[in-house]
Amino acid sequence: MTVSEYNESVESYSDNLYRFVLKNIKDIDKAKDIVQDTFLKFWEKRDNVDKSKIKSYLFTIAYHSLIDVIRRDKRQGSFDDVKEDSYSIQTEYSDLQEILHEAIEQLPENQKAVILLRDYEGYAYDEIAEITGMTESQVKVYIFRGRKFLKKYLVSVEALI
């Protein structure tokens, strides 16, 4: 892999990777560290990475890093505490999406990760399985459970409104 191809990967995937990690870990500094480490590992192994699977490779490295961090440090800050304008150029979204992102924060880590990979990155179940090291069936179960929870959350909030 040439330097140019590596840099193209940075350009194409670093934002998505950062978003995925940040949404999971809710800590800007740690999220940045994980992204930096991920690309460092990618650079070191660049000649062994299949060019068609660069994105999956990056997400795999990042996912396992963030799982390690979460397990090592259970003390997680609230995503709400993070100033949106420090990481986002889009700070306005619909009420529904606000509620939904609120609901996402309530999901268990594994369900949250697979739903983010599914909805944000559009990965298929087998790809999510490859990234997370879960079986495809586990991925499906976690997504189904997650959706049920989100639906229930939305319905309950709508009922209150």
């Binding site: 934002d15 992102h101 189904f144």
Partner: protein, 338 residues
């Protein structure tokens, strides 16, 4: 005599209402009421109190039967999620639509599931610049030669104007002295340049074949004097043996002159760095005898290649441009010493 009397007519009347009375007894019961018109009201009362089943929508029991339907009121959740996940086949989607049309109250649930799809936030990683790697410039052989030629011309021109200016680059090695070493078993052609700073010397060692079939080494005169003895030569040899031998040269057909490194082929380097160089191994059994005379280009190329391989030089830190076929560029600062 009639079976029906004022004492038992009610029992017959109940049977009549429940339609279990035989036609003969019905006829007899009707006859009884005609003969006793004061009791006929009881007959009318029973008809009034007859219960009428209220009209209500019956549940479709089949909707609970799994054997009849893929989608039931028990498992519909799974199919609703599968639908928004795009996992249902067209056939199953059709069944789901049919199911929802029969159970309109569940359409809201389906809509709620549709809303669980996240819309990605646009988040920018601002430290992206730190992730980029710098391109290493690769210079083609043509340009390399051109650059070296240009550098040599400039240096000659510069020296012709001002010989008093101290050179920026100092020689790594030069050949000043020949030491004969009686080691007839030695058949290797070796070329070593060692760290001048650390050893306070730089060495070019080269075996030549003299007329007496003895081997000679040309060693720079800055080499410690003790190296002139055999014992010290052995010490020196043991040092060299640690290095990987990359080249041997068939010597028998190589003349002294051909194998000699000429005085103008003095090596220069930008800084004093350790250079260990041994040429590549050639198998004399399979290859024809090689008459090999190292050009300066060959030497530099392989020296640099070896240095980088052994991590003596850092390509990035030392700024060495290293082309695919191992052509050093800015390391080369050589010029002829006359």
């Amino acid at each position: 005599m009639s079976l029906i009397t004022k004492n038992n007519y009610e029992a017959y009347l109940l049977d009549y209402v429940e339609e279990t009375l035989s036609p003969d007894l019905i006829e007899e019961l009707m006859l009884f009421f005609e003969n006793n018109p004061e009791l006929k009201e009881d007959l009318d009362d029973f008809k009034i109190h007859e219960l009428t089943a209220p009209e209500f929508e019956l549940l479709d029991k089949d909707q609970f039967k799994k054997e009849n339907n893929l989608i039931t009121l028990i498992n519909y959740d799974t199919f609703l999620i599968a639908e928004i996940e795009g996992l249902n086949s067209s056939e199953v989607s059709g069944q789901l639509n049919l199911f929802l049309s029969k159970n309109s109250s569940l359409k809201k649930e389906f809509m709620a599931y549709q809303k669980t799809k996240l819309v990605a936030l646009s988040i920018i990683f601002k430290e992206k610049e730190s992730l980029f790697q710098k391109e290493t410039k690769v210079i083609s052989l043509y340009w390399w030669f051109s650059a070296v030629a240009a550098a040599v011309i400039v240096l000659f021109w510069f020296n012709s104007f001002n010989n008093s200016i101290e050179r920026q680059y100092f020689p790594l090695a030069e050949i000043d002295e020949v030491i004969l070493i009686e080691d007839e078993n030695e058949d290797l052609f070796r070329f070593y340049v060692l760290d001048e700073e650390k050893l306070q010397t730089a060495i070019i060692e080269k075996k030549i074949v003299n007329e007496d079939s003895k081997q000679a080494y040309k060693i720079k005169n800055k080499i410690h004097q003790e190296l002139k003895t055999n014992d010290d030569a052995n010490v020196f040899a043991s040092l060299l043996e640690q290095d990987e031998i990359l080249d041997t040269l068939e010597l028998k057909d190589v003349s002294l002159q051909e194998n000699e490194i000429k005085i103008e082929e003095i090596l220069y380097a930008e800084n004093s760095v350790k250079i260990t160089y041994v040429d590549e191994v050639l198998d004399n059994r399979t290859l024809p005898p090689v008459k090999k005379k190292m050009s300066k280009f060959d030497i530099f190329r392989k020296v640099i290649k070896q240095q980088v391989k052994t991590k003596i030089l850092d390509k990035g830190r030392d700024g060495i441009l290293f082309a695919e076929n191992a052509k050093p560029f800015n390391f080369i600062r050589g010029k002829n010493k006359k």
